[in-house]
Structures are given as C-alpha cells and as structure tokens.
C-alpha cells in the first residue's frame, strides 16, 4: 500500500446530532446518558475530551504529553514499538489526535467511556495515538467506535497502547464500520500487570477494502485475558486479523475467541497465536468461520507455542456453512427460514463475553442484531 497517497485533512463541518442512530451502532451515545466520559475526533481534529467521573482523566494525547511529560513518556510507544511497521511510523510522523485515558488507583468506573473516531474526507489519513492507563486496582470499560461518514477512499491506522495495572481490569470494546474503499491498519499493544484482567472485544461489520491487525497482549503473573473478535464482511472485503497473546507471567491465562462471517467474495484470514512463557500458564484458541456465499473464503491459522511441560495450550477450529438440519429444526419450531438463519448467525456470534457492564452488553447485543439482519 502506498501510504503516501493518504493525507491528514481538515474535516468538513459535521452535525454530530444528525448521526445519532448510526453512531449508536458503533457504541456511541451522543447524549452521553450512560457514559462516564467521551472523546470525539474527526479526521485528525479532536472535538471533545471529557471525563464525567472523579476517578477518571480523559485528555487528548498532546495535552497529556504536555501535562505529564516524562512520566507519560515511560508508556509512550512501549506496548507498541514505534518501528514495528510503516503504519506505526506513519502514526508517529504524520498522525494526529488520539486520546489519553487514566483511571486513578482504586477507582472502579462503572459506566463506560466512549471514544468516537470519524472520517469524512476522500483520500484521508487518520492515525491517532491512544494511551489507556488503568492504575492499580482500578476498573474501566471503554468502547471505541470508528466509522466513515460516506463512501470514500481512506486509511485508518490508529495506535492504541493499553496498560492494565496490578489488580486492575480493562474492558476494551472496539466497533468498526467502514465504507468499501477503506484500508484499516490498527496497531494495538497491551501490557497487563500482576493479577490484572484485560477483556477485548472487536467487532467489524463492513464492506471495507482491506483490514489487517493483530493486537499483541502480554500478561504478567496470574493475570488473565479474554480476547474476542467478530468479523462480518461482505462485498469484496479482505481481512487478516487475529490476536497475539503472550503468557509471560507465571500462572497467567487467556483465551482467543474468533468468529468470522463472510459473504459475497469477501475473505478473512483469522489468526491466533498464544505463546506460553511463564510456569503453569494456560491458553485456549476457539476459532470459527461461517461462509454465507460460495465465493467467500475463510482461512484459520491458530498457533500454539508451549516451550515447557507445565504450559497447557489448546485450540479448536471450524469453518463451514449454516447447517440445514438446524434450520429445518427451527422451521419446525415455527420460525421462518430467514428467522432461523438469523437465529443461528446470532448464536454463532455469541462469544460469551465475561462480566461486562450491562449497558455495554446491551449495546453489543443491539449492534449484533442489526448486523445479523444486514447479512440476510
């Protein structure tokens, strides 16, 4: 990809209020009713960075770097190496915007923070750098919703670094909805300290051109991670997505759950890699794909690396179509064919998210229902 073809542009004036329903689909509530903070960015321009909780600080990254200086520099490009690839370099050299979220020690923030990143201009580059720091024993949920507001060519290459402190918990939900000429290259790195918990849930439903990402999560002693993704593609989209999970600390454990649904001529490469390092670590990969059209394709690539005997890593994978026997059974139970297919797709997308706040679960559920409808 010629990254030189994309440029940071000044956004058009946009009436956010008029986008309420569309933004709700990517987890953004413009009325901020059940949110503890909000961040809005269009193209490279930051519109809003607001905390509504005393234990929470939300700033644009530039302001945060000015405020915290060397203290923040300790985290800056630590979870994601700046020289990882040309997209991280692009974010450093030509990117702009990005949020800084700090959850103060011991604070459990019940309502989620929302971060909305929009693109509106043809040929545009959006490359924000986000940093989330959850201090010791804190808890926070963040939903990041990204979308294009019209058909356009563009490149989204956001960098997100997440630091989960000792005994802290971060629930990170990212929902992407792009248009069919978009190229998406998020780069995410997560470092989880001792006894920390990190839950990631990525949903992409879109007609995008290409998507490539493999967030890297490193677990400290006795920490846990639940990493899930639901990729729903149609048109001629191509995606290469997955997670890399490193069980570094003794007693750490994690799961990677991936669900891909493809239609038309879209293709997904679903990767998952778990590397056991610490003693007594456990990891599991569950990777499944559903083909809704003959021209679509899913390739699953699970990798397990267990260099010592007390590491237990497992995986299961399956790719196929909706089972006709199940559809007919549901028809016999009174559902129409389309409803039966819809139910099976909904079930397929249920990854069993662990203990998310109710408002987040309800939001994800609503989005998945609409995705299901759009696929039939």
């Amino acid at each position: 990809m010629d990254i030189g073809a994309f440029h940071t542009k000044k956004p058009e004036s946009i009436d956010i209020e008029s986008l309420g329903e569309e933004l709700a689909l990517i987890g953004i509530d413009i009325e901020e009713r059940e949110r503890s903070g909000s961040y809005y960015q269009i193209e490279g321009e930051v519109l809003r960075a607001l905390s509504m909780h005393p234990g929470l600080e939300i700033l644009d990254l530039e302001t945060a770097l000015d405020k915290y200086g060397d203290l923040l520099r300790e985290h800056y490009w630590k979870a994601v190496p700046v020289d990882m690839d040309k997209f991280t370099a692009l974010a450093e050299l030509r990117g702009s915007g990005g949020y800084f979220v700090r959850v103060k020690r011991g604070h459990k923030v019940q309502l989620p923070i929302q971060a909305c990143l929009l693109m509106s201009m043809g040929g545009s580059l959006q490359a924000p750098h986000n940093i989330i720091i959850a201090e010791e024993d804190s808890e926070v949920s963040i939903v990041t919703g990204c979308m294009t507001m019209k058909e356009q060519v563009g490149l989204h290459a956001g960098v997100t670094e997440i630091y989960v402190g000792r005994g802290a918990r971060v629930n990170f939900v990212m929902i992407h909805r792009w248009s069919r000429a978009m190229h998406i290259r998020p780069r995410t790195g997560v470092i989880v300290d001792e006894d920390g918990v990190f839950v990631s849930h990525y949903i992409a439903f879109t007609e995008l051109r290409t998507l490539q990402m493999m967030p890297r999560v490193i677990l400290g002693p006795n920490s846990r991670a639940f990493l899930s993704s639901i990729i729903v593609l149609d048109g001629g989209a191509e995606a290469d997505v997955g997670y890399y999970l490193e069980l570094l600390g003794n007693g750490s454990s994690g799961q990677i759950i991936s669900r891909s649904i493809v239609k038309d001529t879209s293709r997904v490469v679903a990767r998952a890699r778990i590397v056991g390092r610490g003693r007594g670590t456990k990891g599991h990969i569950d990777c499944r794909g559903l083909l809704l059209s003959n021209g679509s394709r899913i390739l699953t690539i699970p990798i397990l690396d267990a260099p010592s005997r007390d590491i237990r890593l497992t995986h299961e994978a399956a790719v196929g179509r909706l089972e006709e026997d199940k559809i007919l059974w549901l028809i016999a139970r009174g559902f129409g064919r389309e409803e039966a297919e819809s139910l099976l797709i909904r079930g397929f997308m249920n990854v069993g998210l662990p203990e998310l706040p109710g408002v987040l679960t309800a939001m994800i559920d609503r989005t998945l229902r609409i995705i299901t409808k759009s696929m039939l």
Partner: protein, 260 residues
C-alpha cells in the same frame, strides 16, 4: 381402509423416498380430533421417514399418495406452510444451537404465538427445565433433557397437531412420566391430536392413547386399540402383531369407530 370422522390428519397410501431408497411404501393412517394415536415399529421400519414426510422435511421426498390436514391436501406444501397451519413434529435427534439460550428461544416462540406466561411456567415446571433455561440449547444436555426441551418448545407453538418422534427413547422413567404429563397438558391446552412414534410403548402408561398402528418395512401392517397392541408388542414383539390383529379387523374397526 377404515378411518374416523373429523379427521385432523389423514395420510393415504403414502410412499416416501430418501435418496434412491424407498423407505415408506404405501402407508395409510388417520388421527381424529381429540385423539392420541401411537405408531409402533422396529428400527428402520420407516416411522421417522413417515413423520418427516408428513412434516414436509425436504430430504424425505413424497413419491406417491396424499396427506390431508383438516381435509386440506397439504402434500405439495412446504414445511413452513405446514407448520403455519399448525402441524409440526418433534425431532428424534434434536440439534445443539450454540450461543442461544433455551430461555431466549422459548421467549421468542412464546411471543410469536402469544402464549400466556402461566402456561410457559407450567410447562417448565412439568418438564423440570428451570435449571436448563439459561444454558445454550441442548449443548451438553442429556438425552432425556433434550427430549423434554423439544416437547417444551413444541408446546409453546400451540400447534394443532404434533407427531412426537420417539419421545420416550433413551429416557429414564421419571422423564417419561414428565413427557406424558406434558403431552396431556398440551391436549388440554389446544392440541387437537397427536401421533406418537414409539418402540416400546412405555409412554402409553402416562397418556390416553386410543389406537395404535404398527409399521414394518415401510408399511402399516396392523392397527388396533392402543392398549391391546402395546401389551401384545411388549409380550411378543412386532412379528406376531400382523397375524394377531389382521384377523380381528372387523372387531377393531368397530372399536375404532367408537373411539372416533
């Protein structure tokens, strides 16, 4: 062929083909309004094929004969159209549906058919399903639990007629009793008739079945009062059935006319 007045289901000389194999070779039976009828037969005699063909399962192709439901010829209707008319069947092997809880699907079915919440709760109680309600449908369920779930979900459709395909196979005695109670409750709650496929007739003790048919090698070989046929099969098996009951055809017709 003798049959009843006020027929809910009337199957005439039905032939069914699966792939290239003739599995039902001219079967006729009928069920009247308010009647529970048993269908006995050994393994691979064509009972499930007959049930699935009546339901309209596309894998079971009807190669001859007709099916009437409340007098309407439904032979050429799709499975969806038949279910819409109030005809359905429970499946012998119920699939797992990962990701959807029993409660979710039960609520969806109950809402669609405007089923009163008290009835839903009553069926959960009769079939002892409370502990299964928040689990994914049939995932990790025992054979008996699956049969109970299938009858529960079917009851929420408020069907007019159900073919229960071996609801008592591989099921412990307690579950058989629950299933029997559930079917009888369905009969009180609007079910107009049922055909129950069974190997053993264990369920017969818990329901009020009037008549029974016996199927062998794709054909109905005899019919008669449910109790008499069930007792005979338990004592002598299927083979003697034809000999015993064919000879009493006039008596049986008389008895069945009374039942009808």
């Amino acid at each position: 062929m003798w049959c009843c007045l006020l027929r809910v289901l009337d199957v005439r000389n039905l032939a069914v083909t699966v792939g290239n194999r003739d599995v039902v070779k001219g079967a006729s039976l009928c069920v009247s309004s308010g009647e529970i009828v048993l269908l006995f037969g050994p393994n691979a005699s064509g009972k499930t094929s007959l049930a699935m063909a009546i339901l309209g399962h596309p894998k079971y192709r009807i190669s001859g004969g007709r099916i009437f439901f409340y007098g309407k010829d439904i032979t050429d209707l799709s499975i969806e159209a038949r279910v819409r008319l109030g005809l359905t069947a429970t499946f012998q092997f119920v699939p797992e549906v990962d990701g959807i809880t029993l409660r979710e699907i039960a609520e969806a079915i109950a809402e669609r058919h405007m089923v009163h919440g008290d009835f839903v709760e009553e069926m959960i109680e009769i079939l002892k399903l409370e502990e299964l309600m928040d689990r994914h449908i049939n995932v990790g369920f025992s054979g008996g639990e699956r049969k109970r779930v299938e009858i529960f979900l079917t009851s929420l459709q408020l069907p007019k007629f159900v073919i229960f395909d071996e609801p008592d196979s591989g099921v412990d005695p307690d579950s058989i009793s629950m299933i029997g109670r559930a079917i009888m409750r369905m009969m009180d709650y609007g079910l107009k008739g049922a055909l129950i496929i069974t190997h053993t007739g264990f369920l017969a003790k818990h329901i009020s079945a009037s008549r029974a048919y016996v199927m062998m090698d794709g054909r109905i070989i005899c019919h008669g009062p449910a109790d008499a046929i069930a007792d005979h099969i338990l004592s002598y098996g299927f083979k003697m059935c034809e000999k015993k009951f064919r000879g009493d055809i006039d008596v049986l017709e008389g008895e069945n006319k009374r039942v009808c």
